[in-house]
């Protein structure tokens, strides 16, 4: 086996080569000019759009402001969903009555497209951040609750039985045994969920937004500003990776026993 340093280097090389590969393909296609620039803009144009929007802004907000607005919506929706979906998932997993009650509701709304029911949210909550965050909350919810529920089903029953015979009550078993046992599954759910939430961002910024990175991409599409669109997409991809990385790091710190327990 090689040392960890060497492995780290190989990893970086491989990751970089896959990213560079895609970049190269993009560059070649753009340079060949098969498609008009507003569909496949050249990397240089995208870079120019980036520096321009980062400094002078796009329609009333700099890139950082747009990104900030969007991240605020995504993170708020996601965290609220974690606060509700994880406990509910644990409860549904450990109590079949709770499950019988909530399962049909979650299962019903889960496959519904945000675009289809967004109108109803807007009617109730208006066009402000409330309806946007609610939409993101609803998007973040199901992967969390399903992964959590499935995780509960795989808790070895001896762990719970041991706790019972040590005198732990329901609450203590819930927080002290079931919750930590499910952490690996919960983190998987969080990773799936944050990505999903982010993809819903554009839908949430379709209606009556004048800021946000998703809105910027959509709006640029209307004006056939391919460079801005690509730039926005790149920024979304990169920030998405960062959010995911944060969750992975949290998992490594909080669940060191993953795969060992």
């Amino acid at each position: 086996m090689k040392g960890p340093g060497k492995r780290r280097r190989t990893e970086l090389i491989l990751s970089a080569s896959s990213v560079l590969g895609i970049f190269l393909i993009w560059y070649i296609i753009a340079e060949m000019g098969i498609f008009p620039e507003y569909f496949i803009p050249r990397p240089q144009s995208v870079w120019r759009a980036f520096t321009e929007i980062a400094t002078t802004g796009y329609r009333g907000g700099t890139l950082l402001e747009h990104l900030g607005d969007s991240l605020f919506r995504v993170i708020t929706g996601f965290l609220l969903a974690c606060l509700v979906a994880v406990p509910l998932g644990l409860l549904m997993g450990s109590n079949w009555k709770v499950k019988a009650f909530f399962d049909p509701l979650i299962e019903f709304y889960r496959p519904l497209p945000p675009l289809a029911y967004y109108t109803i949210l807007v009617i109730w909550l208006g066009i402000g951040n409330e309806s946007k965050i609610t939409l993101l909350f609803l998007a973040a919810f199901p992967p969390l609750s399903i992964n959590t529920m499935s995780a509960v089903a795989t808790v070895p029953k001896e762990r719970i039985q041991t706790a019972q015979s040590l005198g732990a009550g329901k609450w203590r078993i819930f927080t002290g045994v079931i919750l930590p046992s499910c952490l690996p599954g919960i983190f998987t759910g969080m990773r799936v969920s944050i990505g999903f939430t982010y993809t819903t961002l554009v839908s949430s910024e379709i209606v009556a937004a004048t800021s946000g990175i998703g809105w910027m991409v959509l709006d640029a599409g209307k004006f056939l500003r391919g460079d801005v669109m690509f730039m926005g997409i790149l920024v979304m991809g990169i920030t998405g990776i960062l959010l995911d990385r944060i969750i992975r790091i949290a998992e490594m710190i909080l669940v060191p026993w993953k795969g060992k327990g």
């Binding site: 001896e158 019972q164 015979s165 040590l166 005198g167 732990a168 952490l183 060992k260």
Partner: protein, 255 residues
């Protein structure tokens, strides 16, 4: 005073693909307070199943289980269990695992620490308190599970082959520790073991179970743990009476 634990006509069936499998059948036994009973029997005869019934984890398909005269409804802290496979919590280190029950009861940290370290010393793991379960050897994990239940100080100790993965030396040490605790705190113990010698040395009576479906085919009362509690174990194990009882139990198993 009524019996601490009373099983009458208990049977347990498991649903398998090819129909019902009767694991234990018509088991009746009574455990009085401060008794130390051992259960021996062939592999797969239903010992763990029986322990699960007594622990309250499994409800008997038929028959009755009374604890202090009341029907048993579920597990609680009066009956502490050591399972055949130690179910330690990987997110807690060894000390926290041992202190789990105490913390549940809201015991303050200094007191808890005291009890935890006393029990870790008992199982000779005082130097490993900060390690995680998955960093321990099989035998060490088993010892943590024993320390955990001892720290919790239940009324009955239910132990499923607690010393199975231990070397002779550690095993004898823990046997003597268990005897001391039993003698001092007047606990009741139900022990499943494969070592007939261990059973006779430790308990007040030994129950021998039959092949599947498990029934109790013999009960042998043994005096050693009561009478010779403070004598040397090797000496006791070579007493003629000890050898005779061992042969009796073994004979019963072999037949």
């Amino acid at each position: 005073m009524s019996s601490l634990l009373k099983l009458s006509g208990v049977s347990v069936d498991f649903q398998t693909k090819r129909g019902l499998l009767t694991a234990i059948s018509d088991i009746s036994l009574t455990v009085e307070p401060q008794e130390f009973i051992s259960i021996v029997g062939p592999s797969g005869c239903g010992k763990s199943t029986l322990l699960n019934v007594i622990g309250g984890f499994l409800s008997a398909g038929s028959g009755e289980v009374l604890y202090k005269g009341e029907p048993l409804t579920g597990p609680d802290r009066e009956r502490g269990v050591v399972f055949q496979r130690p179910a330690l919590y990987p997110w807690l280190n060894v000390e926290q695992n041992v202190g789990f029950g105490l913390k549940t009861r809201g015991m303050k940290k200094p007191e808890r620490k005291e009890i935890v370290s006393r029990n870790l010393e008992r199982v000779k793991l005082q130097d490993f308190g900060h390690m995680r379960p998955y960093e321990l050897s099989g035998g060490m994990q088993q010892r943590v599970a024993i320390a955990r239940i001892l720290a919790n100080d239940p009324e009955i100790l239910l132990m499923d082959e607690p010393f199975g993965a231990l070397d002779v030396l550690t095993r004898e040490h823990l046997q003597d520790e268990l005897l001391n605790i039993w003698g001092e705190t007047h606990k009741t113990v139900v022990l499943i073991t494969h070592s007939v010698e261990e059973a006779i040395y430790l308990s007040t009576s030994v129950y021998v179970m039959s092949q599947l479906p498990g029934r109790i085919i013999r009960r042998v009362d043994t005096p050693f743990s009561r009478e010779y509690a403070d004598r040397d174990s090797r000496e006791i194990k070579s007493l003629p009476e000890f050898v005779r009882l061992r042969e009796e139990v073994l004979g019963c198993i072999w037949s």
